[in-house]
Structures are given as C-alpha cells and as structure tokens.
Symmetry: none
Subunit: 199 residues, 4 copies
DNA sequence: GATGAATGAGTGTTCATTCAT
DNA sequence: CATGAATGAACACTCATTCAT
C-alpha cells in the first residue's frame, strides 16, 4: 500500500472507531449522515471523501471487527471436539467485548440483521460458526433434529442475546462467565437426542 | 362500547387485517403511509381518521394478534410443571402460525424488535413467558445461572428464529414438530446445572 | 377521466403554465426544483405531488405545446406541394408565438436539445417536419445532397435560430414576416442542385 | 513572456490537450473537476494551480482552438467575393476537423452554446464570420431581409449541425464534401431576393 | 365519514473550491 | 510546484402529517 493510501486507511479507521458508540446504540438506518458527521467531528464532505456511500461505513466497521476476530480468536479453534471449539469461540468473543468495551458487543454477531440481505452470511464470524457446526455434524456430535443453518442462526442469536443483556445492564456482571453458562446451555440443547416427552 | 365506537373498531380491524401481508413482508419503517393506504384501498385521509399516528397501526396490529393468543393459548397454560407450560405455549404458537398462514409468524414474537423501545415488553406474549419463567424459578425448575429476563429474551429469540427459518423456507416442513425439537433443546439447556467442563 | 383525475390534470397544467417564462429564459438543468416551486408559488411537496420527477415537468410542458400545435397547425398541412406545407408550418409556428407571447418561442422547436437523448425525436413537431421532408423527397422536390434527417435537423435549427433572435430583440419586429424570409432562404437552399463551384 | 511563464503556459496547454476528448464527448457542466483531473492524470491541487476556476479551462481550450484557426484558416480569407471567403472558411473548418479527429468538431463552433453568456460572441470564429457578412452586406452580396447577426448565428448553427451529424455517424462520410453542399445551400439562401411567393 | 391536496423539514449525495503540508 | 484532505452549500427527492371540502 502506498504512503497516501495507508494514511487514508488510517484516517478511515479513526473515523469508524469514533462512530462505534453511536453505531451500536442505535439502528443504523435511523442515524443520518449529518448525525454521523457531527459525532465524528467531521464535515459531510469529509465523510464522503472517505466513504462512497453511507453503508460503506458500516461495512468498514464490520471489516475492522472481523479482522480482529480472525487474528485473535480463529487460530485457537483447532480442537478435535467441535463443542470445545464452540466454547472457545464464545470465550474469545466475550473476552474481546470485555477488553474493547461495551459498545462492540453487538457488532460481532451483527448490528441490524434485518435488511442486510446476504451481508451477514458473508461475514467471517458467521462462516466460522457454520464451519464448526458442519464439522460437528460430520463427527456426529449434534442432534439430527436441527440443520447446520438453524444452529448457526441460533448460536448467533444467543451471542446477540447475551451481549444485548450485558449492554442493557451496563456491564454489571462478568460476561465471560455468563457466556460459558449459555454456551453449555446451547451445547446440551443441540446434543439432545430425544424429544423430551419421554415417558 | 357505543354502536358508533364499535363500528369504528370493526373498520379499524378490517384495515389492519388487510395490511398484515405487507406488514410482515417488509420492515415497518420502510413502508410509507401512502403505500399502506394503497394496499388497504383507502385514502390517506381515511387512514388518519382511524389511526392518529403511523405507529398506531402497528400497535393495533399487535393488539389483535395478542388478543387471539390470550383467548386461545393462554387458557391452556395451567400445568403445575412450568416446562410443560412452555411446551404448550410453543405448540399453541406454532399451531397459530400454521392455521393463519406464513405471514403472521413474525408478528407474534415481534416484527422489528429494534427501535421499539419498551413496546415489546408490554406485549402479552412477552409477559406470559416471563410469568412462566418466574414460576419456574420459584419452583426451582431452572438453573440459577440465568436470570428470568435472559431466559425470556432467549426463548422469544428462539421462537423468532424458528419462525424466520420457516418463512424463509416457505413452510416446507412441519413447524409444530420442529418447534417441539427446539423447545426440548431449550428446556434441556435451561435446566443445565454445571458449566459443562466438570469432569 | 374521473372528476379527480381531471382536476389533477387541470392543476398540473396551471403549474406548468406558470413556469413557462422561467423555463424558457434559462437552461432547464440550471433551474433547481426549489426555484421552480418558488416561481410557481407552491411547496416542494406539492411539486412532487404532481410530478414524479423533475424532468416530468419538462415533458408535460412539451406535451401541452405539442397538443396546441397538433390541433391548430397540423390540419393545415395538406398541400400537394410539400414546400408549401413547410411554409405553412413555419407560418403557423410564427403565429403561435405571436399570440402566446415571447416565451414559448423556444419550446416548440426544443428548449435544450443537448442531453435530451431521444426525447426530441419523439416530439410531434420533429416528426411532422420529418414527414414533410420524406414526402418531398419522394416527390423529387429536394436536392439529393442532403438526407431527410439532416434537413429536419437543419429546419428545426432555423426555427430555433429565428425564435432566439426574436426573443433577444424582445419582439421588436414582425416575426411572421421574418419567418417567411427564412423559410424561402431554406427552400431555395434545399432545392439547390449543383455544388456551387460550377465554372 | 518570462521563462517561468512560458513553462507554465506549456503545461497548461498540455493539460488542456489531454482533456479534449473528454470535453467533446460530454456536457461541460456535467463533468466534475475531479473527473477532469483523473483524466488528465493530475491532482485537484495542480488543476487549481493552473486554472483559477473550472470554466477557465474551457476558455483556455477554446483559445487554443481559435489560435489554430487564426493561424491556418484566416490568412486564406482574402477573396474579393465574400461568398468565396465563406466557402473557404467552411472548407478550412472541415479540413481542420478531418485532420484533428472527430472530437474537436464541436469545439470550433461552440461546445455548449447555452449558458455561455457572451463568451461565444467574443470568439475568433464568431467574429470572423461576422466580418465576412458585414463586408458582404456592404458589397450588396446578401439579401436585405436578414441582419448580419442573424446570418452569423445561422451560419454557425449550420457548422454545428453538420459537425454533430458527422460525429453521430462517426465520420462515415467525407465531411469536406458534405460541407460544400451545405455551404452552397446557405449561399443560395442568403442571396435570395424575393419572398418566394411572387408569381 | 371520507378524501387527497398541500406542506416543509429532512434525507443521502455531489462538487467547486481552499489551503496546509 | 504538487498534493489531496477538508469544507459546506446546494441538489433532487421522500414522507408523515394536517386540514378544507
């Protein structure tokens, strides 16, 4: 990357970083560009100097977060037991939130899933989780009642759910611990064989 | 209710009913009032005759659905075993969807959760589920790892998740059966005691 | 047409009429919608109530003018001698300008030909002139040096040229008489057989 | 001119030359400065180093073209018969287009006549044609029906018309020959004495 | 009760121009 | 000389809401 491009990329990241709190506290569609600019302390012209379209900002934001995830969490997911990888993923995710502050909690698992079309499906986190479940299915670790897609959706929903709750309570408890609990919840659930109505 | 009021309420309901397909197929914020009116076959003036604000329509819609739920599903939730009530609720909900068509599936558990403020929390379905979990907590049926609010959120997320998946696949499988599977998934999960890493 | 639609059409025409002076004095692209609205004494909302896009206004304007032309001038163009029809067209056009005021002079032959794409080619006036030249070609009344398209372009250019001049001089001379002169200029020119360099 | 100034002028010309294809293929107003810079391979800063305003570029462009015209075509216009000078001008112009490629055809007679204010009237080509018609008037070579200004306008319109047509057909015919035909058309027309309806 | 014309603040986006480096 | 980051007014267009008929 040339010096100029590098500088641009840096500034772009700075702007994005400054917008994370706003982005996570409100629906993206509900935030106007001028609001975005006021928050970032830049002019509208500057915004459009760095982002071609409003939605480019969002994509940039997700990209930054995914890069972090890829770098720090994905390398740890090498266990033979896929359920262990699931635990690892959840733990890595919870730690990430804890070290980067409240705001990002929603962004890893998806900010505003509705209306994103296929954007979410292309994201690193989504794909990684899907990979794990696919491997688990092959190894016979998960109940045949549920499809891989369903479990992926559901696992992401859980991540979102815990993160939202933690945000709502303003980080008043240990999210890593809580996350472990829910992960077990999840793992027990998806391994269940019967229909629960055993006599 | 006076004769006049009754007539008004009836017309209001008619309008709402005619808008359910549209409401469920798109994000409420993305639908304009004029689009709403065109679909319902009424003028903008008429719309504002029956609804003070655009969002009143949405509230009315949810109210209608909740009424149905209250009338047909709630009376069945009288079992001593709260987990059984949970199963009942899920089954009632799945049946409702099956008999009323694809479109309403999202509306029971919430159309556009984000940005609703506290609207969701005031809804009958949310409150009923919360009641069940509170009772279950008192009876010691659920793990202490999770709060009632968390479980309520999570259960609703699951309902949404299954319904969304079913919509996406255009009703290609038996939702009642699928729902039972996920309910068991859920029940097993929330009864889990350990953290899964105990040897 | 229903009562409502009729009323709408009337109002639309009123708005267009009130904008003719502005439309003819400046490049359409250079006039902003808000300027248009201020001139017409309506709000931006009202403008968009009657016209879907800014350019719809322009099309409406041309339509009104063409309708007038069709009604009053076209029926006269029945002479066997096509050059006589050309004279008639030019005279009808000049009269129209004289009775409707300065402003419309440009609009018959085209306001801003550049960037119109094929809009101009679809206009009644363009097509009528083309028809006349085609008939003239068949009857052997015009030199083979020039194509029908070229002559049509050129004749319209002449109309525009005279009208622009007359506007510039604020109607200080008799346009009908002037037009006759130019029409003869034109007719002599397009009947020329040689290449002018005969020794 | 100082060495520095000279170098500046040279660079300015280079930039202008590199922009001719773009300038002639699109409406000047529709081309943004950044587009101009990208095409010329310079930065926005550099552009504004050489041109005070965007429109300065256009004026510079016309100036270059006019210089060429002055140098190569004007010296030939010395015939006693002004109509011969007109033929010469048209021929010189057509040759110029043929040797410099399609793109410049519009630029000689004017790129975007509308909205130029008096810019066009100050251009060398306009003034030269006007001089010819003035001389012709004095010598009694042209009909008294038309003013010098009208004929000048009209002659330029013809040049534009032929050039536009040639561009549109991508140079598929011999423009010099075509131009001769139209010049004769024009000359015959402007020498006409009667009103054509005399018996 | 029913209508739809009218409103105007608000939206995302463009772009000529300035200026510190 | 050259750069491109920064600016902000301006643009076309949307839409929830009001109100006279």
């Amino acid at each position: 990357m040339s010096k100029v491009k590098e500088k641009q990329a840096k500034r772009r990241s700075e702007i994005i970083e400054s917008l994370i709190p706003l982005m996570t506290s409100e629906d993206f569609d509900k935030i106007s560009v001028s609001e975005l600019c006021q928050t970032a302390g830049i002019s509208i012209g500057t915004f459009y100097h760095y982002f071609t379209k409003k939605s480019d900002m969002l994509i940039g934001l997700l990209w930054i977060i995914d890069e972090d995830l890829k770098e720090n969490t994905f390398p740890l997911l090498t266990n033979e037991d896929e359920m262990e990888n699931l635990r690892m993923f959840a733990r890595g995710w919870a730690s990430y939130i804890q070290s980067h502050g409240l705001e990002r909690s929603k962004l890893i698992s998806g900010v505003n899933p509705e209306g994103w079309g296929n954007l979410e499906k292309e994201r690193a986190s989504f794909q990684k989780i899907q990979e794990i479940f696919e491997a688990a299915r092959k190894k016979g670790q998960i109940s045949k009642r549920f499809t891989v897609d369903e479990l992926t959706d559901f696992f992401l929903l859980m991540l979102r759910s815990v993160s939202t709750d933690w945000s709502r309570r303003e980080g008043s408890y240990d999210i890593v611990n809580k996350m472990e609990g829910f992960t077990e919840f999840f793992i027990q659930g998806c391994q269940s064989k019967g229909n629960g109505k055993t006599k």
